[in-house]
Amino acid sequence: MGIVSPGFQGRPRSSEPALPPGQYLTQDFPVLSAGPTPKVPLDSWEFVITTETGAEYRWSWSELMSLPQETPKVDIHCVTRWSKLGTTWQGVSLDTLLDGIDTDAAYVLAHSYGGYSTNLPLDDLRGGRAWVAHTFEGGDLPAEHGGPARLLVPHLYFWKSAKWVRGLRLMSTDQQGFWETAGYHDYGDPWREQRYQGD
């Protein structure tokens, strides 16, 4: 805490603590993984949003790249207690991907190449707070960090930012994902320290 350099840009909330409770600052980027790193060739990569009625919306890699790109600079907080500040990404906002999709769903199960999944409220993917990110610090997102593309939802613990993301299932009722079924929190707000079910 208090290690943020005075010249640090992009964090106007100087009166707030730099880190959520129970977190420590790290400069490197630890690799966390629940399994082998999937190899996903770009020419067969796709991202699919499936609505609660079964309607499917698909993007190939080139279609994703042709959408408007954003470069969020965000802090990320891992439930294993490291936080990394001011990371720069590039990707497509979920606002863009969800635009024009007819849904009354309240929940999302994000699912990944390799079988990972995580649940979030749909509202948390809107409002300029979530992206499908394919670039990290100016370079292709490395496979061990979730490339070709990962979900980026930095206002929640980083396990919600599904690596190797393949699609979103929009649902009327909440359905727990990989770590949530094993005891982690359904929402995972780092500022409220929602690490485990019941926190």
């Binding site: 993984s33 399994g35 079988g115 005891g183």
Partner: protein, 97 residues
């Protein structure tokens, strides 16, 4: 007449304590996905993660997840059809008596 078809969950306490006092690396597990039976000690465990993830060495599907919070431990075995632990009746039970 009292319904004797089930017992109170408290009865699990002793058997589970006995189960987890044994060396689980000597246990055998069956993968729900591919059906292979192998030792728990042969699972591939991914530990750089919010919990421990044990995967089948044959098909790499998840067979076991273990999460330790400050308040509890959860062992999730979806992916495992059974766990079999060596427990001969004619030997003294392992662990503190």
């Amino acid at each position: 007449m009292t319904d004797m078809s089930y017992l109170d969950g408290n009865m699990l306490d002793a058997p589970l304590r006995e189960l987890f006092a044994v060396d689980l690396s000597g246990a055998m597990g069956r993968c729900e996905n591919c059906g292979v039976v192998g030792p728990v000690g042969g699972l591939r465990v991914y530990s750089h993660a919010p919990g421990l993830v044990g995967r089948c060495p044959t098909c790499s599907q998840v067979m076991l997840r273990f999460v330790r919070s400050p308040a509890w431990a959860r062992l999730d075995l979806r992916g495992t059809t059974f766990l079999q632990v060596p427990m001969p009746l004619d030997q003294p039970h392992p662990g503190p008596m």
